[in-house]
């Protein structure tokens, strides 16, 4: 059995694409520690994911396909992973830093009495051990940490490691595993699921357009009659976010927001970028009407190219920005949407 394991996170039988980043990171580690990469796939009706894992570079797949594993639940998943790991003693288990990946790593570490290096952005090998770089204080500082025990559990931050291009011809060894808990012993039941908003996921997005408090400041808009002051402000902000959504749609971007915009009730919390929201690092981040408080910067400062559109030339966001526009976002954003529509042929 290989020393490097990679957990593939799936939902309703579809692998989360960020999982494939683990396989390429695993191959890099295997190059230094020896052996190949084993992908772990748990679920029900997930055999198709095994072929995908081979295409993305896995040498072996360990597949547990059972109705008790249909929806992710921490109890049966961590019990199974801990059993497999204690039988085969891998050196490293990589997980994507998804809600499920992080929880599964946390619980499995307790069963195996080992440590987790969470939300890692870089990995190196020294004297047979991993040295992981991870942001703390929402990226205001970085630390290098290592795990004294084995296996070393690591959750990889999304987009920190590039995935390999899939090769349709690649295959590997498929090994099947059986669950270790029966349904009767599992305390938690998943009853239903309601989909979030459609659109591009913030954490996976390579392009993000965000709006802040400034989105509600359009003086030329007249809210419908009968709204109180607060409702009128929210109504105005929602008109502003519509412009942001139009731009996001044309450039295939996710929609983000500052804490100020979320706290003011302009847009749901799921969109919040910042220290108490999502920490993201897209290739392109367009900040519209966001002043750039340190809390917000913590969530987006590692974006590759930052564009700031703000009417206040003194806004701190401009210090982070590669391109800045001082102006009225209500005029600039629709014009920018049009400009991209022409260039991208949409």
């Amino acid at each position: 059995m290989n020393k490097i394991w990679v957990y593939i996170d799936q939902f309703k039988g579809e692998a989360l694409p960020t999982s494939w980043e683990g396989i390429s990171a695993g191959k890099m580690l295997a190059g230094q520690l020896g052996g190949g990469v084993t992908a772990l796939i748990f679920g029900k009706g997930v055999e198709a994911i095994a072929s995908q894992a081979f295409q993305y570079g896995a040498d072996e797949v360990l597949l547990a396909d059972d109705s008790s594993l249909d929806d992710y639940r921490s109890e049966p998943y961590s019990a199974l992973l801990a059993k497999l790991a204690s039988e085969s003693s891998p050196e490293v288990i990589l997980f994507p830093t998804t809600t499920r990946g992080r929880e599964l790593a946390a619980m499995t570490a307790i069963d195996l009495n080992t440590g987790v290096l969470p939300d890692v952005t870089a990995l190196e090998v020294k004297d047979g051990s991993l040295i992981a770089t991870r942001p703390i204080y929402a990226g205001k500082l970085m630390c290098k940490v290592s795990c004294l025990t084995r296996p070393q559990l690591v959750t990889l931050r999304g987009r920190a490691f590039a995935k390999l291009p899939p090769e349709a011809s690649r295959t590997g060894t498929l090994t099947k595993a059986s669950p270790v808990m029966s349904e009767a012993d599992i305390l938690t039941k998943v009853e239903s699921y309601s989909a979030g908003e459609a659109g591009v996921s913030l954490t996976d997005a390579s392009v993000v357009v965000s709006g802040g408090r400034g989105v509600s400041n359009n003086p030329s808009l007249t809210p419908p009659a009968g709204l109180d002051e607060k409702q009128a402000e929210i109504w105005k902000a929602q008109q502003g976010f519509k412009l942001i959504e139009d731009l996001a749609q044309v450039i295939h971007a996710a929609v983000g927001a500052s804490r100020a915009a979320v706290d003011a009730g302009y847009i749901p919390y799921a969109h919040q970028v910042g220290q108490t929201g999502k920490v993201i690092s897209p290739d392109l981040y367009i900040a519209c009407g966001i002043s750039g408080a340190i809390q917000h910067q913590a969530g987006m400062r590692t974006s590759k190219v930052i564009v700031a559109i703000n009417r206040d030339a003194e806004a701190p966001i401009f210090k982070l920005a590669r391109y800045g526009v001082v102006g009225d976002l209500y005029a600039i954003i629709p014009a920018l949407t049009e400009a991209f529509r022409k260039r991208l042929g949409k």
């Binding site: 307790i110 440590g115 954490t203 408080a293 920005a321």
Partner: protein, 259 residues
């Protein structure tokens, strides 16, 4: 119903952090209750109010961690306990969870334990799940809504947030929950609460009080570093009209070869 809530004291989210001689320095910024933990305290208090229960706040740290506990008391928790021990020098999430699990056991007959989703200093997001695992209780992490708790049937139903949306899950009591910001705005401490908290005597428990020996961290910190500075030259895009500005900006962005 008996409820525990675990809180941590951290530098304010507006603090500027700098690594100085391998240590995190936050200058004059205040230490506050971890913002995520305020949602946990709110959720705990709501359950206590709904089921005629009481909430005990627990924290690990030095004498100054009493401020986070006092905030929890001022919000309405009825008791607070600080766990402090000179041997707790090297902490990782596993050590933290062992201490919290032992404290929850010592408190006794706890039906629900609440934590925030993560601490804004170390940002691990592991502690709630690990505490649950150590207690052998179900972990209901990232809870946005508690739809029902039945203390006599010993059941709980929640909505959890995941990448794809909301999952409704049910489980058994006792359980460990971590709470996300969607839950609802945490209440402000009341004037009476602040007065009560300022006079509160907070007992301090050591590891020996919890029946624990020396705990060893599995994770070791090698280095603390300041993130590389962004070497940025900001180019201001101008034009005679919004359309011209937008055209110029779109050209610049297209030249970055991202879209």
């Amino acid at each position: 119903m008996k409820i525990a809530v675990c809180v941590k004291q951290v530098p304010d989210s507006a603090a500027k952090l700098v690594a100085v001689d391998g240590k995190a320095n936050w200058g004059d910024s205040p230490l506050v209750i971890n913002p995520w933990d305020e949602y946990a305290v709110e959720a705990a208090l709501q359950q206590a109010e709904a089921h005629n229960g009481s909430v005990i706040a627990v924290s690990i740290g030095g004498e100054n961690s009493k401020e986070a506990l006092k905030h929890a008391l001022a919000m309405g928790c009825s008791e607070a306990i600080l766990i402090s021990d000179d041997t707790l020098t090297q902490m990782d999430s596993q050590v933290t969870s062992r201490v919290l699990a032992a404290a929850i056991k010592k408190i006794g007959e706890v039906d629900l334990a609440f934590l925030g989703r993560q601490a804004i200093d170390t940002d691990t997001g592991l502690t709630a799940a690990q505490t649950a695992r150590l207690l052998g209780w179900p972990a209901l992490t990232l809870v946005a809504v508690i739809t029902g708790v039945d203390p006599s049937a010993r059941t709980i139903r929640v909505e959890r947030s995941a990448e794809e949306g909301r999952l409704t899950a049910s489980s058994r009591l006792p359980a460990v929950l971590s709470i996300v910001k969607d839950f609802c705005e945490p209440r402000y401490p009341s004037f009476m609460g602040i007065r009560k908290a300022s006079r509160a005597v907070i007992p301090v428990w050591t590891l020996a009080d919890l029946g624990l020996g020396t705990l060893k961290a599995n994770i070791t910190w090698l280095e603390l570093i300041n993130p590389p500075q962004r070497q940025i030259t900001t180019e201001m895009i101008t034009g005679a009209s919004p359309q011209e500005i937008a055209e110029n900006l779109a050209d610049k962005i297209m030249a970055e070869k991202i879209l």
